[in-house]
Every structure is written in C-alpha cells, then in structure tokens.
C-alpha cells in the first residue's frame, strides 16, 4: 500500500469520525450557511459541502481532486498572508495553500479573514476557521476549512467606521461646541468649537465652571420650572435643568442662549447625552451645541416676509372684495376656483358652495355660459358677454361679463378670470329706448303712409300727364322713410358708416325699382368713412336721385351696371355714382320731372356743404363725382365748423 492509499483510507476514517461527531458539527457540515471544505495533506479538495457549493458557485465534482482552496482565494491576500506568517513565525512560507493552513499544521488555532472568489469571478469576504485532520498517530492527513460569508458583518463594520468618523469630525469641528462634564456638571472637555463660539480657552473653564454658568440664567430658571411641571418633580435651576432629561434617558435637544466671555450672547441648539460607565452609571454629560444665530436671523427675516406677504394678500383680497362687480375665477374646465362677495350675492350661494361647482350651473342658459368660457379659452379675452344669473331664490339678474385667461409664472394656463356687472338697469333703459324708438318710428311711418295715401287719392282725380309727378313724389317720400331705417341700422352712435349705408340703399333700390329679373345691377365700392347723422338723409336722397336717374335713362335696352362708391380724399369724401350706360345726352331745359330731379341734386349738394366735381365723360357711361367735407361736427363738439 502506498502512502497516498494509506492517506486516503485515513481520510475516509477521519470522514467517518467527522460524520459520527456531534449534532452541532453535523449541522454545520450540512448547513448551506457554512462552507466546509476538506482537503488531503497537500491541499487537494476531497470534500466540498452544499454550503461551499452555494457560496462559491462550483459543484463538488468541479473541484474535488482538482484544485486546492488557494485556487479559490484572492491571490494577493494569499501572498500577503504568506509574507506576514513568514515574518511572524520566522520561517519561509510559500504563497499558496501552505499559507492558508500553516498555523493549523503547527497546531495553532487559526481563524482569519479571506476573500473567496466565486466561479463567476465575483468576490466575498469570508471568515475561515482551519483545523488539521490527523490520523491515530497524530500525522496530518488533511485539513478542514470551515468558512462563513462575512459580507453582512463587513457592511456593519464599515457603517460603524463611518459613524465613528462622523463622531470624530463633530468633536473636532470648530462648528460644533462639544462640552463634556463630570456627573456634577463641572466641565472636563471644552473643544475648539466651544472655544471659538464662547471665547473662553479650555483652560479657563475646565474643572472650574458648569455649562449653566455660560447660559442665560433666566432661561435656565424658566427651563427648570417648565421641566418641574412637565416631569412632576422639583428640578433645581442650574446645571440639573440642562441635563435632567438626558439623565433620565430621554433624548434632549433644546434652544438655549449661551453667553460669551465678552458678555455677548448667541442662540444655540444644544443636544445633551449622558455618558455612562460599563455598569450604566452616569459619569458625565456631553453637550453638543450649534450656533443658531444665522438660523434665527433667517427665521426673523422669514417672519417679516411672511407678515409682508400677509399684508399684501390682505390688500389684494380687499381690492377684489370691494369691487362692485361679481368676480370669479374658474379652471380651464369651467369649475369655479375663487369668488368675491358680490358673486355670492349674485348667486345667493356661499363661497364654499360656489368653489368646486361648475360655473354654468348659476345661469338660466348653462350652454351659453359654457360656450362663453370656451370662447375665452379660445380667444383669450371676451368682453360684454351677456348672461342671466339665477340666484338660489330664483331671482334673475342680467349681467355683462368681461373675461380673460390667466397664467402662472411659468405661463401655464390656470383658467379664466371673469367679472360680471349687473346690467339690469341698463337693459331696462335699452328696452325703454327701443320701445320709444319703435313707437316713434311707427307714428312717423304711419304719418308718411297717410301722406302717400293722400297723394294716391289726389292722383286718382288728376289728369294723366300729371300722375307721373305724383308717383315720383310718393317714391321720394318712400325713400326718406326708408333712409331713416337704414340710418338706424348703419349708425355707429354719433356717425353713420357710409359704405354700409350705400349697400343698404343699393339693396333697397334694387328690390323696389328693379326687381329680381332686371338686367340692371347696382354695385357698391366704399372706403370705410363716416358722416354725421344730420347729413345722412340728404346724402341718401342725393344717392337716390342720381341712381334713379341712371336707372331711368342710362339703359334703354334694360341691362347694365351702376356703381355707387365713396372715397376718402384727404379730409373730404367723394361720392361717385357711375354707370356703363349710353352716356349724357343734351336735354331740353324745360321743367320736365328729370329737370326737377337735377334741381334736387343741386339742393342736396348745397345742403351737404359739397360741390360737384367736373369729370371727363367718355363715349359711353356717365360718372358723377360729388365732393363733401368729411365732418361738419368735430367729434365731441356740438357747434358746426362750416355751414
């Protein structure tokens, strides 16, 4: 039998011994939380348990009889360990498996940290315990390496290290005052931060005074009183008041005014911890303080700003509330987000009831209300949009809305701001005015109708040659009546828009004189100019005469075009009536109806303060151009400038 065979037999025996060992060992060996690797005397792996498989990612078959534990360890660490042990034990140790088991082979208990490398190349810290396996003659037949994954502990250690560093940083920082006292409060440690903040050197205070001596005495007394009440036990005003809570194991951080050596004061935030011995007995206190001046200043400034903001808000709100209009904001979907008192009065609902409710619900025509909001969103602004608000008690109020969209600082649409003015009285005045206008119009037209009727009656008993004169008279009366209507339709308050007025005259004359089947068309081309209402009737009559003349004389074949136009020429207006008919003919000067018509034209031109502008007449067609001053009455004035 060879040595190796003997070794193998012995190993199996050892394995059996191992298997027969206690329940704990068994548990460890079978545990997935411990890697158990057994090797022969040369380090070649013979056993690789489930824990080793789980931790290292190899199957037992992949490593058994193939590699040593050194092959799955960080080679740098193995080299370093070999060097260290060589120095420690005064003998050269080969970097490799020997470095991992040398101590154990010498019978020295060996537990060390080692980085194992998994099959996938990733690494983890392990704590490895090595035992030499020996035969009955105490000869080494192999090694057992039991490893535990040390990752979690490593993390905890790192965290602890960091915390320690933080503590050291705080203690050495000039920004924190760290004052440690004995159990009675006498200062034992006074760090650089305390020196800087309080102006004392450590030597001046150590073993001499307590932190209470450098604190505002009034505050110390007040704190003692407060704590006495809070904790139901008498607390002496002095150092006890500063540490009483900490001495009872209560976490304690409070504000306190420290007094510097030069008598100046500063607000501090103080955190107090009791320092205890191994038996948990208090041996002193640590008071860590930070200068709170900057924060206090910021707080004071903030307080001032808050107050200013509140004042500003109050002012803004008072403007909104004192507005005579009902004000309201909605979100883009038309849900009310804010209202003023007038809006509450208008709807008979409280602010709380209105906010969150749809805007449209408070109007007699919700669809029109909603359309209004949509229009504002589309056009950004809507003015004089009339709605009828309906209050809870059923009272209806006609309101005129002006509304705009509003945005936040980032220009994001927030919704609609709307103000509603009660126009009930205005509407009533408008209705009254309309009724009066209708009544007057009715009377005037009836009177004109009576005149037209009288003429008709007269014409029945008149000789035939004169009948045409009566008819022309009736037509002129009809024209005057119609011009009144047109003026009321085209009037822009004080003035009459001439282009619109001409279009209406053209329409009316086409309808009454030409009919649908006529070949004569009347067209209008007008600059947007206006004249005073006083001149609108003679202007209309002038157009009526000239157009009637064109219709009667220019188109013997019954077809053609008449053009009515107004042109702005500096501060004057040109009325231009042209046709593409047969042109001017020499007429006799007898007082025919046509002659009377041209007499009327001259009268109307004079009445308008204008003049006929001579025009070059072509072979065909006729153009009449009449120039009028733009305005007889200056805007806002009442006296005529010229007659």
């Amino acid at each position: 039998m060879t040595g190796v065979s003997d070794g193998a037999i012995a190993l199996r025996q050892a394995e059996e011994t191992l298997l027969k060992a206690g329940a704990l060992q068994n548990a460890i060996f079978n545990s997935a939380n411990f890697s158990s690797i057994a090797t022969d005397a040369k380090g070649v792996i013979q056993i690789f348990n489930v824990g080793a498989e789980r931790m290292l990612g190899y199957t037992a078959a992949e490593v058994m009889n193939k590699i040593t534990p050194a092959d799955i360890s960080d080679p740098q660490e193995v080299i370093a360990r070999a060097k260290e042990l060589s120095v420690e034990l005064g003998t050269a140790i080969t970097p490799g498996f020997e470095a991992l088991v040398f101590k154990a082979s010498r019978g020295i208990e060996d537990i060390y940290e080692l980085t194992y490398i998994r099959k996938d190349g990733s690494r983890f810290p392990a704590v490895v315990s090595v035992t030499a396996l020996r035969d009955a003659q105490n000869g080494i037949i192999g090694y057992l390496l039991i490893g535990t994954d040390n990752t979690a502990r490593k993390h905890a250690e790192e965290a602890l290290l960091k915390a320690g560093a933080l503590q050291r940083a705080i203690f050495n920082s000039a920004n924190f005052s760290s004052i440690a006292t004995d159990a009675k409060g006498v200062i034992q440690i006074f760090n650089v931060g305390a020196e800087r903040m309080l102006g004392y050197t450590a030597a001046e205070v150590m073993n001499k005074i307590t932190p209470a001596d450098i604190s505002d005495p009034q505050e110390v007394i007040a704190r003692a009183k407060e704590l006495s009440v809070e904790l139901g036990t008498a607390i002496t005003p002095g150092f006890e008041a500063l540490v009483f809570k900490a001495s009872r194991g209560i976490e304690d951080i409070y504000e306190l005014t420290y007094i510097r050596k030069d008598g100046t004061r500063f607000p501090a935030v103080v955190s107090v911890t009791a320092l205890r011995d191994a038996q948990n007995g208090i041996i002193g206190y640590l008071l860590i303080g930070t200068d709170n001046t900057a924060r206090k200043l910021v707080e004071a400034e903030q307080k001032k700003l808050d107050q200013r903001l509140r004042d500003q808000q109050f002012y803004t709100r008072s403007l909104i509330e004192s507005n005579i209009d009902a004000l309201m904001t909605t979100d883009p979907s038309g849900i009310i987000t804010d209202v003023n008192k007038q809006m509450e009065a208008l709807t008979g609902c409280t602010r709380d009831e209105l906010i969150g409710a749809p805007f449209k619900d408070y109007f007699t025509d919700p669809e029109r209300a909603e359309a209004g909001i949509k229009r504002v969103l589309m056009e950004k602004k809507v003015t004089d949009y009339e709605l009828t608000a309906r209050a809870r008690d059923g009272k209806e109020t006609v309101v005129s809305y002006n509304a705009t969209t509003f945005y936040d600082r980032g220009r994001t649409l927030q919704g609609v701001f709307a103000s509603a003015r009660d126009v009930t009285e205005r509407k009533q005045r408008e209705r009254d005015a309309l009724t009066l206008t209708n009544e007057i119009s009715h009377r005037i037209k009836n009177n004109l109708q009576v005149i037209v009727g009288l003429i008709s009656y007269e014409a029945k008993w008149t000789a035939a040659p004169c009948v045409q004169g009566y008819k022309t008279m009736q037509a002129r009366i009809g024209a005057i009546a119609h011009l009144y209507d047109l003026i009321s339709q085209t009037s822009l308050g004080r003035t009459v828009a001439l282009d619109a007025y001409l279009r209406e005259i053209a329409k009316a004359m086409s309808a009454s004189l030409l009919g649908n089947m006529s070949g004569i068309k009347i067209e209008v081309e007008g600059d947007p100019v206006e004249i005073d209402p006083d001149r609108a009737v003679p202007f209309g009559l002038l157009v009526n005469e000239l157009t009637t003349n064109a219709i009667k004389h220019a188109f013997p074949h019954g077809s053609g075009r008449i053009k009515l136009g107004v042109e702005r020429v500096g501060d004057q207006i040109d009325l231009v009536i042209s046709d593409d008919g047969i042109g001017m003919k020499n007429k006799d000067s007898a007082k025919s109806p046509e002659k009377r018509g041209s007499d009327y034209v001259a009268i109307f031109v004079r009445q308008l303060g204008g003049a006929v502008v001579p025009t070059q007449q072509g072979l065909t067609g006729t153009t009449v151009r009449i120039r009028l001053p733009l305005l007889l009455v200056p805007s806002g004035g009442t006296e005529p400038l010229a007659a």
């Binding site: 209708n438 009715h442 037209k445 009836n446 109708q449 037209v452 008709s456 008819k471 009546a481």
Partner: protein, 120 residues
C-alpha cells in the same frame, strides 16, 4: 276676385288701403285690433287673404299674433304683413312661413304688386 281681411289700427290708412284694394276688384273686410280680427276669422265668412299691420296700438306685435292664429284657424290662408318699423330677429321668428311683407309707407303700385305676388 278675392276676399281680403285688412287689419290696421289707423283709420285713414285702413280706409285708403280698402279703397285701393276694392279698386282692383277685390272684396274687403276690416278690423282695427286683434280681437276684431279674430272674431272675423272665427266666423264662417269666406276669406282668401289677410293684410295686417304688425304694430297695433293695443299689442306691439299684434299683427304677428293675428297671423299665427289665422293660419291655425284657416290653414292655407294667404298673409301679407306691413309695418313701418325695422324688422328685428325676434319679429322675424314670429312671421308665419311662406307669407309676404310690405314696408310702410307703401305706394298704391307697391301694394298692388304685393297683393298680386301673394296670390301667385
């Protein structure tokens, strides 16, 4: 020839209209307000057309009212409105469909044309 009911509150205008219409060979009936007009319309009297002023002293849109009730009583009745006032949208909405309109003041020729058109 036709029978035409004239509703007009102004006596002179009504009588001149009556004279003109009769002059063209038609027969006329006359009323000065809504109630008189409805009384005639409800009677068995044969009527072909209604010529009514819209603005009656007793009712601002009385003529519209007469026409609506007249058509309800006598479907197919011809209607010719007249007024000196501007026709508002509100008024337009009250006019019976398929009817005619003549602006005041109207001449004999214009009334004759309108009556002819009404019967075509």
């Amino acid at each position: 020839m036709a029978v035409i009911l004239i509703v007009e509150d102004d006596v002179f205008i009504r009588e001149v209209a009556e004279m003109m219409i009769e002059g063209w060979g038609h027969q006329t009936l006359t009323a000065s307000d809504v109630d008189e007009a409805l009384a005639i319309l409800r009677s068995p009297q044969h009527i072909d057309a209604l010529f009514t002023d819209i603005y009656l002293k007793t009712a601002v849109l009385g003529g519209c009212d007469v026409a609506i009730q007249a058509i309800a009583l006598r479907p197919g009745l011809r209607v010719l409105y007249t007024t000196g006032n501007t026709i508002t949208d509100k008024m337009k909405a009250l006019l019976v469909e398929g009817t005619h309109f003549l602006r005041k003041p109207y001449t004999e020729t214009q009334l004759e044309e309108s009556v002819k058109t009404m019967f075509t």
